[in-house]
């Protein structure tokens, strides 16, 4: 298991790295003109104020030296800095122990030692042709730059049993101003086969402000699956936000028990329009389509289901 995991994680890293490569490419800004523009280095116009300030007492200057740059008009030299001293000047005046403690507190002080949040991006009721259902998708984190990250999602028919549900926990490491690399474990719940997966994901903000998640999973049965999610917030007005959202689920192999085929298993496109009473509380309505692909579509048809499902949704996006 551990050996397989290691191999899996290494392979998944390759998938995950596709995204940062993209982000680096976008660090470059095509179309930015720098041509024909010189670096301004000189500290602007020379002391022209000499004429403007008859009232000011003249600086002691020797005769004929008036053209020499004075004061801050002079350029800096290139003296070497002194070495850094590893003591506290305050210890010469105050109790060294108290000083050392206060210094340590100052160096490590932050508004809070840890931050945390729980965000429910989707908590909705779905109106479908073949019955209503409900769905949630949310995440929570604790930490600062690097975080303990928890994600959960699930859905099920109204009045029925939980169909699909997952909980995952990961260590999330900031690898750039916008991207986090996450490694952890996912546990499936619900009516299907209950699996445990190793997970490696890349999460963050892509150019054009797309919220992205690309995750790869290896189950305890050796099955490979993957998921890519992207969404973007378009502000219609200051409070009304349209959020288009796509999701692709992938599988490396046929999994008859889960009724999933190799390749693209499902693709989803949704539009959710929310009204932000506050950033922390925003009810929404929307529509979402899910297509099953390839062998997965065959399974659906064999089960008497349509490979395409459309639902209208009503929900609340929130965080606390």
């Amino acid at each position: 298991m551990t050996h397989r995991c290691a191999v899996a994680l290494a392979a998944l890293a390759a998938l995950a790295l596709a995204l940062p490569a993209m982000s680096h490419a976008q660090d470059t800004m095509p179309g930015m003109d720098m041509g024909g523009h010189q670096h301004h280095h000189a500290p602007a116009p020379p002391a022209q104020q000499a004429a403007d300030q008859p009232a000011a007492p003249a600086a002691p200057a020797t005769e004929g030296a008036s053209d020499e740059p004075k004061g801050t008009d002079q350029s800096p030299g290139s003296a070497e800095p002194p070495p850094v001293a590893h003591d506290l000047a305050g210890s010469r005046y105050w109790d060294p122990q108290a000083m050392a403690q206060a210094h340590h507190a100052m160096m490590t002080e932050r508004p809070a030692p840890l931050y945390g949040a729980v965000k429910m991006d989707i908590a909705e009721y779905q109106f479908g042709k073949n019955g209503d259902s409900w769905r949630w998708e949310g995440e929570g984190w604790l930490g600062d730059t690097n975080r303990l990250w928890v994600r959960s999602r699930g859905e099920g028919p109204v009045g029925g049993r939980l169909e699909d549900a997952e909980v995952e926990a990961a260590y999330s490491r900031a690898i750039s101003p916008w991207w986090n690399l996450q490694a952890g474990v996912r546990q499936d719940l619900g009516t299907g086969p209950v699996r445990t997966h190793a997970m490696l994901a890349l999460e963050g903000l892509a150019p054009y402000r797309f919220e992205m998640l690309a995750a790869a999973y290896l189950s305890d049965k050796g099955q490979w699956t993957g998921r890519i999610e992207a969404s973007v917030d378009e502000r219609v007005t200051r409070r009304i936000v349209l959020q288009p959202r796509v999701e692709f689920n992938l599988s490396a192999q046929d999994m008859p028990q889960q009724r999933l085929g190799a390749g693209l298993t499902t693709a989803e496109l949704g539009f959710r329009l929310r009204y932000e009473f506050s950033r922390k509380f925003a009810p929404y309505l929307g529509v979402s389509w899910t297509w099953a692909g390839g062998r997965t579509a065959d399974y659906r048809r064999a089960d008497g289901e349509s490979p395409l499902a459309r639902v209208f949704v009503l929900g609340i996006k929130s965080w606390f």
């Binding site: 301004h40 004061g71 070495p83 490590t108 150019p207």
Partner: protein
């Protein structure tokens, strides 16, 4: 607890003795009470003078729009008592910390022995809970300054007050004034500062309620689709001007909200000196008095040759003294926030009860490519490519998740009036307009240059210097005692940062030679750079962004000055 009640009673008694405005729960010192006659008429109990002064830091409230907001007070009030001192005197300040947490008071802009500077962990160990500390130092300068707590986010809770120091001998002023008022501008929230920090950490644009919208695009407002896409591609926002805005802050003039309308009185025809202090925790203000030109005569307490402006923008920690000559009518002092989301307001009037129209807030400005350290004024886009985050341009910066941008072509922006001030249609002060009244005390050329990059990652709400926060245990900036050094601050972020060096008055490098303007806090425009020359005073000194959450997140260093 019982001692707090006694203090509260004593406080109410003291307020009662002043008469006039003794409202229970309304904790404003006499110098800042709603109606002020100005400096000469102030009751001595709330303007503290002399060589021995006692201050108490405690819990209390400030009343905003009739509602009490939690505050940390000095002698029971927000702002605290004004210290009115005289150049050349000795000062012995006993500070009693009545809080259940450590506290401190820092004398912002004062040149003094470092161990009296009041920064816990840098200059002294701090004042432990329920104990006291005595500061003792000579007053060697004159002008407008202020003092505030340097512990935690206590300043953000109201722990600040003005200092006015008279010259040792009455100097012939180019513009003498017949009356003066302190106008201390600040921000205060009903939300706890730690909660504000947390909301920003979860969503960095949490308080930005003025984003670009699709409806604005349809209506043809502001940026075109191409420009919006360019910003989106960079994962940045041109509306990211202030991270803490009027959606959570209230803006105060001498502790009063806009409706309470603090009023400074004058006699028509008099020259009035207004001592503006930006004591806000997270706010830049655009200050103007419609109908009244202002002659700036001092910057950060240092005399400058009078320069006439209609408006000035200043950052947290900066002060300006201006002279105005009001006629027989009321005037509004409008201090709009830099992002134009809110306004502090006060009135100058010849009699109580008068008011002038309050100018409406102007449209919120947008950041430009210049604010990214990429000046586009050279011409049309020519398809050249430029990296937004090229670490090789700043080898000393530790690149990592906390650095989202390196200014590719940082420009000297000392001649820039500030964000949104370029097209307001009247004269706005710039640093280049300032010329020292007297020759600078140290005319040596700097022996070397220290470049410090102001860095951050907007999305993660991380702030640092050279890519490192304080908690990343970086080393201090070493200097030799008496050494003359040029600091060049490069702003690798899209926000303006007011950078304050403790215990020093430095000379801005703005082409004014031996009459360079002297300051203790310099605003570095986004994507730009700013230089100053300074003569090192011995000791350990704090050096930081005066936006308190930026400092608390790590945009701070210690400057270490040791014998050569």
């Amino acid at each position: 607890m019982s001692s707090w009640i006694i203090d509260r009673r004593a406080l109410l008694g003291a307020v009662g003795q002043l008469g006039g405005v003794a409202l229970a729960g309304q904790a404003t010192p006499g110098w800042a009470k709603t109606l002020s006659q100005g400096g000469a008429a102030l009751p001595s109990s709330e303007v503290l003078s002399g060589e021995a002064i006692t201050l108490r830091i405690g819990k209390g409230h400030v009343t905003i729009g009739g509602k009490p907001a939690k505050a940390i007070t000095i002698n029971g009030t927000v702002p605290g008592p004004m210290l009115r001192l005289k150049e050349g005197q000795m000062l012995r300040l006993t500070v009693i910390n009545e809080l259940d947490e450590p506290s401190s008071l820092h004398w912002h802009g004062l040149v003094l022995p470092f161990q009296m500077d009041g920064v816990p962990g840098v200059s002294f160990p701090g004042i432990p809970p329920r104990s006291s500390f005595t500061y003792e130092f000579p007053i060697v300068q004159h002008g407008t300054y202020w003092y505030h707590s340097h512990s935690g986010l206590q300043e953000m809770m109201g722990c600040y007050a003005p200092i006015v120091i008279e010259p040792a001998e009455a100097l012939p002023a180019p513009l003498p004034s017949m009356r003066e008022h302190v106008v201390l501008l600040s921000d205060h929230s009903f939300v706890n500062p730690a909660r504000i920090a947390r909301n920003l950490k979860v969503e960095a644009d949490y308080y930005n309620r003025q984003p670009q919208t699709l409806s604005g695009l349809m209506a043809g407002h502001e940026l075109s689709m191409d420009q919006r896409l360019m910003w989106a591609k960079m994962r940045m926002s041109p509306t990211d001007i202030a991270d803490v805005t009027a959606s959570v802050m209230h803006y105060l003039a001498n502790g009063h909200g806009p409706d309470e309308n603090w009023t400074g009185l004058f006699t028509p025809g008099e020259t009035v000196r207004l001592r503006f202090i930006n004591a806000a925790s997270m706010t830049f203000f655009n200050v103007r008095i419609p109908g009244l030109a202002m002659q700036v005569v001092a910057a950060d307490g240092q005399d400058v040759q009078p320069v006439t402006v209609e408006e000035f923008q200043f950052g947290a920690g900066e002060t300006y003294d201006v002279i105005v000559t009001p006629q027989n009518r009321a005037y509004t002092i409008a201090a709009e926030t830099m992002d134009r989301s809110g306004m502090a307001r006060a009135t100058l009037a010849p009699a109580a009860g008068m008011a002038a129209p309050v100018p409406p807030r102007r449209a919120r400005p947008l950041l430009t490519m210049k604010d990214m350290g990429m000046d586009m004024s050279g011409g049309a886009m020519k398809g050249m490519s430029m990296k937004m985050r090229d670490g090789s341009l700043a080898p000393q910066v530790k690149m990592g998740p906390g650095v989202d941008m390196i200014s590719a072509m940082p420009e000297d922006r000392m001649g820039d009036p500030g964000i949104g001030m370029g097209d307001v249609g009247h004269k706005v002060l710039t640093y280049r307009d300032l010329v020292a009244l007297h020759p600078n005390p140290d005319l040596r050329a700097p022996e070397r240059e220290i470049e410090v990059h102001l860095t951050g990652a907007m999305e993660r709400y991380m702030w640092s210097m050279d890519g490192k926060t304080m908690s990343q245990a970086h080393e201090p900036i070493p200097m030799r005692k008496g050494e003359r050094v040029r600091f060049t601050l490069v702003n690798d972020t899209m926000m303006a940062h007011p950078i304050h060096l403790h215990g020093h008055i430095f000379e801005l490098v703005t082409g004014h030679g031996d009459h360079s303007p002297r300051k203790h806090t310099v605003t570095v425009q986004p994507g730009g750079k700013a230089s100053f020359d300074v003569t090192a005073e011995p000791g350990d000194w704090a050096f930081h962004c005066h936006l308190f959450l930026h400092m608390a997140m790590g945009m701070m260093r210690v400057v270490q000055v040791r014998p050569a």
